[in-house]
């Protein structure tokens, strides 16, 4: 184990003893996300580099401070990718931040989210213990699957030091089709297509226009184009479109109104809340720009079987994630205490008291 890990472990032990909050931070590109960051900054950016990359094993092990851009460039050189397409909110976005935030991009509905690709992790818990869970193999049921739980835990369970991720080959062929249809028709169509063996890898609907990305073997993409019709979107335009959605550089995401992420059953009806809307993931992720009261948004989304996150902007003084039922919240508190009994790791970033 190297010096940096030892130093961090020592620092966390000291912080636990004195009850000093630690704000674990990578590139800082997601400082806006979750509840207000508090505590001494513990920067992971200096701890970077690929520890092990075996393209034929479909796995890469990376230090937490590695820039996402550097990792993706390395993978692209071997015609592979992080299939969950994590957002790059800044050039300095890191792998550790990517896993801690647990956010996925356009390909999520087709291939899975961050946690589906986490194979193992080395962390330092709130006691300053260095722990290794999971590993570098695809199938592993030895011990509780703690490493996958780190995805989306916002650094509240441990400092992610190193993570092993499953990677996938880049698709040989890709094409984007455009259709004109209203929201209800798009939601229906996306679910209907989802039940057929089609190589759909992303979808986005807004303002009466549905874009659909196909990825896979050339033969499969060609066959799907012939079958689905629609208008072909030129490759360069399509690439900019999907990257813009993935990294939220798309014009939809500009402006200062609260941005809500609504995670819904794919077949849930249109939410019909005031504000602009963008539907992704075959209907399972809906973005809403709205000044409507949080309570109203949450109630409507819950009624449709989903949950709502105040993703960016808006009044962030209260909870930003959806409230949990009491027994589930109790389990979450217990789990937090199991890993961070002094409550010093990114305290309150996910929920008050976690």
């Amino acid at each position: 184990m190297n010096d940096q890990i030892q130093n961090w472990a020592e620092r966390i032990r000291t912080a636990a003893a004195s009850g000093t909050a630690q704000c674990i931070r990578g590139g800082g590109s997601k400082d806006f996300y979750g509840r207000q960051p508090v505590g001494e900054i513990l920067a992971t950016t200096g701890y970077s580099g690929i520890v092990n990359y075996e393209p034929s094993e479909l796995v890469v092990t990376v230090r937490a401070g590695t820039r996402l851009a550097d990792l993706e460039a390395e993978l692209a050189g071997r015609k592979q990718m992080l299939a969950f397409e994590p957002p790059r909110f800044g050039v300095d976005s890191t792998v550790g931040g990517c896993v801690a935030a647990g956010l996925a991009g356009p390909r999520r509905a087709a291939v899975g989210g961050v946690r589906d690709f986490v194979l193992g992790a080395r962390i330092i818990d709130g006691r300053g213990e260095v722990l290794r869970f999971g590993g570098e193999v695809m199938k592993n049921v030895a011990g509780y699957d703690v490493s996958r739980v780190l995805a989306g835990s916002l650094g509240t369970l441990g400092l992610i030091v190193e993570v092993s991720l499953k990677v996938l080959p880049r698709p040989v062929a890709e094409a984007t089709l455009r259709f004109e249809m209203d929201e209800a028709a798009a939601l229906h169509q996306l679910n209907a297509w989802g039940g057929q063996p089609l190589p759909i890898s992303a979808s986005a609907w807004r303002g009466g226009v549905l874009d659909l990305r196909l990825s896979g073997a050339s033969a499969a993409v060609d066959a799907a184009i012939a079958r689905l019709g629609g208008e072909s979107v030129p490759a360069q335009v399509a690439e900019a479109l999907w990257a813009g959605l993935r990294d939220q550089r798309d014009v939809f995401f500009s402006g200062d109104d609260a941005l809500w992420r609504l995670s819904m059953p794919s077949d849930a009806l249109a939410v019909q809340l005031a504000g602009a809307q963008l539907v992704e993931w075959g209907g399972a992720q809906r973005w809403l720009r709205s000044t409507a009261p949080a309570g109203q948004i949450r109630a409507r989304v819950a009624e449709l079987g989903g949950h709502a996150v105040m993703f960016r902007h808006g009044d962030r003084s209260d909870e930003v994630f959806h409230p949990l039922p009491a027994p589930l919240m109790a389990l979450q508190r217990n789990l937090k205490k199991a890993f961070d009994p002094a409550g010093i790791l990114n305290p309150g970033r996910l929920y008050a008291g976690l």
Partner: protein, 505 residues
């Protein structure tokens, strides 16, 4: 739900003593919440529950209860929490690691009567099922809609979805379609405190910590599952299988790496060594080449165009890797025949040997050849045969050690042989179990794979859900005392270990 989390729960250090559980008091309390027909406590009625798929270990439980509703599960768990009774949840009892082995002073909660398919929503591609529904039954119910449930463990005709969740089961198609965890939306369960909790959601994520991966594969130690919502996958239009023969196992292993490196994720990629091929050929007459040192089965699925493209690429890669013979299935009957042999590997082992012991290590694919050579050396060392079938695509090995439990010492030798394979799996950068679970079988090897800090962390996770350690005690996570003892034994290292008479699984 108790809020207290133990710094180091007592059950993490030494096995808890449950000998004070009062059978009559337990039966009386249970009789008030379930009908008499759901409650078994005479030893003859209990006998069928004395083991799961790991038949070498038998233990008659104190009581068995077969709830018919979730409300009954809640009542049962509240009684066990109040009386301090160990609870072992059980599905079809097909597990291979002894995860459902009863506790001597405990209650077995069989979920066999919770077997309703609650709903199939074809438009949303999901099914809501009770835990006692069989894996294959889900796919059968979804078939009219052109959908199926992708994970297909070999025991899918019998194993239940509740058991699949408990073990995070795999199958031959998980290279492309994922494990159980990748095909779940939501698991509903009851905590030991009797609270109903939902993990996951009908959306693709849920707020807060993502506890779905923690519950999945937790071997019944965190909650008792009462309902599972699974994703359904569109059935591919076509599947075709390539059978390739090799005169050398290392070449076959390299061919596997070459296929993956070329950017192909086959629907299935399986390998069998020559003794395994011979054993199954005699049994099912799949037409396997018997002179080959190893055969590979590589399946491609998708649209007809896609399959044709992939098969052509796979064939070229296999030729370049030195395959001595390549056959492509010409129709569905031939494809099924190719698979019949692989799927019959376990029964075939049972046919050529009175007993067999199935291992489940996973290693990086590139170490396959090394592992096979080491297993050959172990066959000499232990004077015992081993036939090998692999989920080669994901590096998951199922060596089947052949022995005769009626011969003095053979059972123990087989265990020592298996333990050495597992220890080597860890040493090669892999894991002791890819899909069968730790249960009681591999509990000692957990001490090799994890250090004391991780073992303690696992016990704290357990305590976060089950502070008194009542759910499936003694399984999956070893106590610190057990690891200390195992460490001392290994230090002594005069294999076979020092106390051959001790029951050791």
């Amino acid at each position: 739900m108790t809020g207290e989390v133990f710094e180091a729960p007592a059950f993490g250090t030494a096995d808890a003593d449950f000998s004070r559980v009062d059978k009559a008091r337990l039966v009386n309390a249970l009789a008030r919440v379930v009908p008499a027909a759901s409650l078994l406590h005479d030893v003859e009625d209990l006998r069928p529950y004395e083991c799961d798929g790991m038949a070498a270990l038998r233990q008659v439980p104190m009581v068995v209860v077969l709830p018919e509703t979730e409300a009954q599960v809640v009542d049962i768990l509240k009684i066990c929490a109040a009386q301090g009774v160990p609870v072992v949840a059980r599905g079809a009892g097909t597990g291979l690691s002894g995860g459902a082995q009863p506790h001597r002073f405990g209650l077995v909660v069989s979920l066999a009567r919770l077997k309703k398919i609650v709903s199939i929503d074809a438009h949303a591609r999901r099914a809501v099922v009770q835990p006692g529904v069989r894996n294959l039954a889900i796919s059968e119910a979804a078939a009219p809609y052109g959908l199926y449930y992708a994970p297909d463990p070999s025991s899918q005709i019998a194993c239940t979805i509740g058991g699949n969740v408990a073990e995070n089961s795999g199958g031959v198609h998980c290279l492309k379609y994922g494990l159980t965890i990748h095909n779940l939306l939501k698991v509903r369960g009851v905590s030991i405190a009797g609270d109903i909790v939902e993990f996951g959601s009908l959306a693709l994520d849920a707020p807060g910590y993502d506890l779905l991966p923690l519950i999945t594969g937790s071997e019944g130690m965190l909650a008792v599952v009462t309902e599972v919502t699974v994703k359904l996958t569109p059935k591919p239009q076509l599947a075709q299988c390539v059978l390739a023969a090799f005169d050398d196992v290392v070449k076959a292993g390299d061919a596997v790496a070459a296929i993956i490196a070329a950017g192909i994720i086959p629907a299935g990629l399986e390998m069998m060594d020559q003794p395994a091929t011979a054993a199954v050929e005699e049994f099912v007459h799949a037409g396997y080449p018997l002179d080959a040192q190893a055969i590979l089965l590589c399946e491609s699925d998708g649209t007809p165009e896609e399959v044709a493209e992939e098969i052509a690429r796979v064939r070229a890669l296999l030729e370049a890797s030195g395959a001595t013979e390549i056959r492509v299935s010409r129709d569905e009957a031939e494809r099924l025949r190719f698979w019949a042999g692989r799927k019959a590997a376990f029964p075939a082992a049972g046919r050529i040997s009175p007993d067999y012991y199935c291992m489940d290590g996973t290693i990086p694919r590139k170490r396959l050849g090394e592992m096979l050579k080491a297993i050959q050396a172990m066959e000499q060392k232990y004077a015992m045969r081993c036939i090998n079938v692999f989920h080669a695509g994901d590096g998951n090995l199922h060596p089947l050690i052949l022995f005769d439990a009626n011969m003095p010492g053979e059972q123990h030798t087989a265990e020592a042989f298996g333990a050495e394979i597992l220890e080597l799996s860890v040493a090669l950068g892999g894991t002791i179990t890819g899909e069968h679970g730790v249960g009681i079988e591999k509990i000692n090897q957990m001490c090799s794979q994890f250090g004391t800090p991780e073992i303690k962390a696992f016990h704290r996770v357990k305590a976060a859900f089950d502070p008194d350690g009542l759910l499936n005690p003694g399984k999956a996570i070893p106590t610190l005392n057990r690891c200390a003892e195992y460490g001392r034994e290994r230090m002594g290292a005069s294999r076979p270990p020092a106390h051959p008479d001790l029951p050791r699984f």
